[in-house]
């Protein structure tokens, strides 16, 4: 076993890596020895909040996830629903909040890149992007810089890969001053008989690395996004990842080309914690072992260690398990698209992940306990402090003036300045662009099917009452979809909250999920994918930390059998106006 650890592995180092004393104890008992530096790194990222969902997992399980039209619910890279004619919609939403505060352009751009990969890794051609954004107070000078960078980043990446950005939402509130939210959603379409999953199978099958080379980008990004922001965040700056949408575009085309053959056994993108989480999850889900030789990993920088390669978050990379004898066929496709391609390992029957580098074994971890013994916390909850009920409102300015103020206020003003920077028409299938309907409508090429897409959440409602707020977000998504004439099918969510170690935040989280679950059940609108982002906090100069407003963003998807029946906001002449509801 390699012992070239830059530092002795002990409880103190484990703590620096974000593992609690108890978690480190479990590592020791699983390994039966002191782990190597690389092994400790693997445990720390796999058991981070970001990868393990340790604070949220128990509660997420209470959400309804099934319906006759759900093909794959949570647990895969994205949710999959039946949209008829043998086709499936594949979609998910994911946050890139912390990176977007540090470097708004690249943070937002790589957020879009990451969610695109989650969707095309399952075999879908991405056909639409949405983005749900929350920023600090409009008057805060930082807000302008962050808004500008985030909007450019979302557009810069999405426009270049050629996926239309068709919707989203934006709110402003001082609670997001030091912690904006960037939640990106991608929707793709695949044939139901060509959906690709991540569970590896077939001892001896080759493990392939494709895409960009590995650099020292974002090492420990997964643990960073699980810890509060403070001064240290500044010191971590150079670990920001830079996205390359051009390579992503090539990767989409190359993967879809390979997916049209029967060469692939399993495939997964390298997201947070890169090579570690993709290899561990693929082998773990398949119940097999995996042997990787890092000497074969395409590297952008010299002298990278095993630890660095395993934890790098370089973008635009995928891990694929191929059928035997298909390596050359696959290589030809990636050569055509001028992407890196390397055989970096194979599947084994050991049930362990074994990492070799320069002839040494740098890690050898049993996969079953790494997954099964991942921590799960039922953290204490407390009722959230709710704002006082509002005083009766006395009309100070008159209805007309009030209306003018409302139209001009940051949360209601026109969003055209944002969505006009996003290419909403590329693909030629956008039936209702941003601003034209309550949900965006995108046609599925070569069919009559339309998809209705929306993102919704009103954080101030959630702060007033997290349960009702959670239910309201689901209901609003459902209404926006029905208003276009579409049949709501399912949702993806992005649960953005403060520190789960604060009982009142944990209380908001639990309540919001309860409300969402209730609404989803009542509306037959199951949750098929999602993402949790905790520790969205800003530390004030006085040492206290302020949580964001509870923000369970909901991404809804509905289907129109005949997209020509879609209804928008435009009111034809000579119509009667009717008010429905109470």
């Amino acid at each position: 076993m390699s012992a070239k650890s830059p530092r002795p592995v002990d409880a103190a180092l484990a703590r620096e890596f974000g593992l609690t004393a108890e978690e480190y104890g479990n590592v020791l008992s699983i390994m039966g020895r002191t782990p190597t530096f690389t092994e400790l790194g693997i445990f720390s990222v796999m058991w981070s909040e970001h990868c393990s969902y340790k604070s949220s997992r128990a509660f997420l399980k209470t959400l309804p996830t099934t319906a006759p039209w759900v093909i794959h619910g949570p647990g895969e890279n994205a949710g999959v629903v039946d949209i008829g004619h043998g086709l499936a919609a594949i979609f998910k939403m994911e946050s890139h909040n912390h990176p977007s505060f540090i470097e708004p352009y690249q943070g937002a751009a790589t957020g879009v890149g990451g969610i695109l990969r989650d969707v095309f890794t399952m075999g879908a051609r991405p056909i639409a992007n949405l983005n749900a954004l929350r920023f600090g107070a409009p008057g805060n000078p930082q807000t302008r810089r962050i808004v500008d960078g985030v909007v450019r980043g979302v557009g810069g990446y999405g426009n270049c890969v050629g996926v239309p950005t068709v919707g989203g939402e934006i709110n402003f509130h001082p609670a997001y001053d030091g912690n904006p939210l960037v939640n990106a959603m991608t929707v793709g379409v695949a044939r139901q008989d060509r959906i690709f999953l991540s569970a590896a199978a077939g001892v001896g099958n080759p493990v392939i690395y494709v895409g960009s080379k590995t650099g020292r980008d974002g090492i420990h990004g997964a643990t960073m996004s699980s810890s509060e922001f403070d001064e240290d965040a500044l010191a971590k700056r150079p670990t920001v990842q830079v996205g390359d949408p051009f390579v992503e575009k090539l990767l989409i085309e190359a993967c879809l080309e390979l997916m049209a053959t029967d060469a692939i056994v399993a495939i997964q993108d390298m997201g947070a914690a890169g090579l570690t989480s993709s290899s561990v999850e693929m082998a773990g889900k398949g119940g097999v072992g995996i042997d990787l030789d890092l000497d074969n990993v395409p590297q952008r920088e010299r002298g990278m260690t095993a630890y660095e390669m395993m934890l790098s978050e370089s973008q635009e990379r995928m891990l694929i398990v191929l059928r035997p004898d298909r390596t050359e066929q696959a290589r030809a496709i990636f050569d055509k698209w001028e992407l890196d391609f390397a055989v970096i390992g194979h599947l084994t029957d050991t049930g362990n992940i074994v990492i070799r580098h320069k002839g040494e074994v740098e890690a050898d971890i049993p996969l079953a306990p790494l997954a099964d013994q991942a921590p799960v916390y039922h953290r204490p909850t407390a009722p959230a402090l709710r704002p006082q009920p509002m005083e009766p409102i006395i009309d100070p300015v008159g209805v007309e003036q009030a209306l003018i103020r409302l139209i001009g206020c940051p949360d209601l003003a026109s969003r055209a300045w944002v969505y006009n920077q996003y290419d909403s028409t590329v693909g030629g299938q956008t039936v209702r662009r941003p601003g034209a309907a309550d949900a965006a409508i995108v046609k599925v090429e070569d069919t009559e099917i339309g998809l209705a897409l929306t993102t919704d959440c009103t954080p101030r409602y959630c702060r007033a009452n997290a349960k009702l707020g959670g239910a309201q977000a689901v209901a609003e998504a459902w209404r926006n979809i029905t208003a276009t004439g579409a049949r709501p099918l399912a949702v993806t969510d992005n649960l953005n909250f403060g520190s789960p170690e604060k009982p009142e935040v944990m209380g908001q989280f639990v309540d919001a999920i309860a409300g969402m679950g209730e609404a989803c059940r009542a509306l037959d609108f199951p949750v098929v994918s999602g993402n949790v982002s905790l520790y969205n906090e800003t530390r004030a100069p006085d040492g206290t930390s302020q949580s964001i407003l509870p923000t369970p963003a909901i991404g809804g998807l509905g289907v129109l059998e005949d997209v020509r029946t879609a209804v928008g906001l435009e009111m034809p002449d000579g119509c009667d106006v009717m008010l429905l509801g109470e």
Partner: protein, 80 residues
């Protein structure tokens, strides 16, 4: 007095532009080109007669606006 601020990506930060240009130069048969890095130059006309002061000001401008210190480094030089 003219000061030139040159802004380059930090060592180790992915440079997608440089990579693409490197590839294109190889396709164009410029075989002995190795790494290519792409950056920005900003030429500032500064109303100042002292070189040191002009550079110090350019420095401050680079820090405040011209470079993104999260991913970029910069250098300043007086060019005229």
């Amino acid at each position: 007095m003219k000061v030139r601020v040159t802004v380059m990506l930090k060592e180790g930060v992915l440079d997608p532009q440089g990579k693409a240009v490197e590839h294109a130069l190889h396709v164009l048969d410029f075989k002995n080109v190795g790494e290519v890095r792409i950056g920005r130059v900003i030429e500032l006309e500064i109303d100042e007669t002292d070189c040191e002061r002009a550079r110090a000001q350019a420095d401050a401008m680079a820090r405040a606006l011209l470079a993104n210190l999260v991913i970029e480094d910069f250098t300043t030089e007086v060019v005229g």
